[in-house]
Symmetry: C2
Subunit: 122 residues, 2 copies
DNA sequence: ATATGTGCAAACTCTTTGCATGGAG
DNA sequence: CTCCATGCAAAGAGTTTGCACATAT
């Protein structure tokens, strides 16, 4: 990741303006409003590169592939709408979850996902 | 789901003997030890049918497709090993997690996943 | 001027489906 | 004897990769 291209700027702008985790096809859709020629392979390459750089972080939600979100944000979790499949942030976290693991298991992270219907889809 | 075939019995036996969520390829691998001719398409069709029947439940963990586990079991969560990608059960659950959702969101379920290394992989 | 980044298309992986055959009832 | 279930192979969906061209530096 060395050059500052139109495509990469567009992808960054998309993440900065949308406050939730995005799947590659969502990034493509929003990004093409800025750079219409943007291709899906470029999106995949850039989200991966931005994640390697620590600018994005991977969000491992159920239901297919990885999503990505800005990395700097404070610890939080996600709500996944069963109807529109969009992911939303939840800003509180139950404490001490990582202590639930069995003996001998080494925990280095956790994800809490609530499922249901978002305010739009109800 | 009407007939009791060798293949279906083998798949049931696999789930009854392995106490953790299984992905289709794991079911195939274990099932072929019982019925060597077992095919992957048959596994996919049967886990879906068994889930529709309520005998299996879907486990929506990150990292690819659905996994399945016996449905009857009490509420629990999962530990996903970053090294071997196996899923293990966690038998405790933090209370009141579903109250963390934003206003206006309707929650109908939750999943808590701990990430790390299992006892084998440490 | 140079070499990284892009866009396209092909390759891959995972899952589903169509179809002829096998086997449970 | 029927029809549902199986196995194979082909078709889809999502993601990655190879290559020639474009472009940031």
């Amino acid at each position: 990741m060395q050059r500052d291209t139109r495509q990469r700027r567009a992808i960054r702008r998309v993440f900065m303006s949308v406050g939730r985790p995005l799947a590659p096809d969502e990034v493509l859709e929003h990004g093409q409003r800025i750079v219409p020629s943007l291709g899906l392979a470029t999106v995949y390459r850039n989200v991966k590169a931005l994640a390697d750089d620590g600018w994005l972080s991977q969000v491992e939600l159920p239901g297919g592939g990885l999503r990505y979100e800005l990395a700097e944000r404070p610890h939080h979790h996600h709500f996944l709408c069963r109807s529109c499949d969009l992911a939303f942030d939840i800003h509180r976290c139950p404490d001490e979850v990582e202590e639930l693991a069995p003996e001998g298991f080494e925990v280095d992270g956790h994800e809490l996902i609530l499922f249901g219907r978002c305010a739009e889809c109800r």
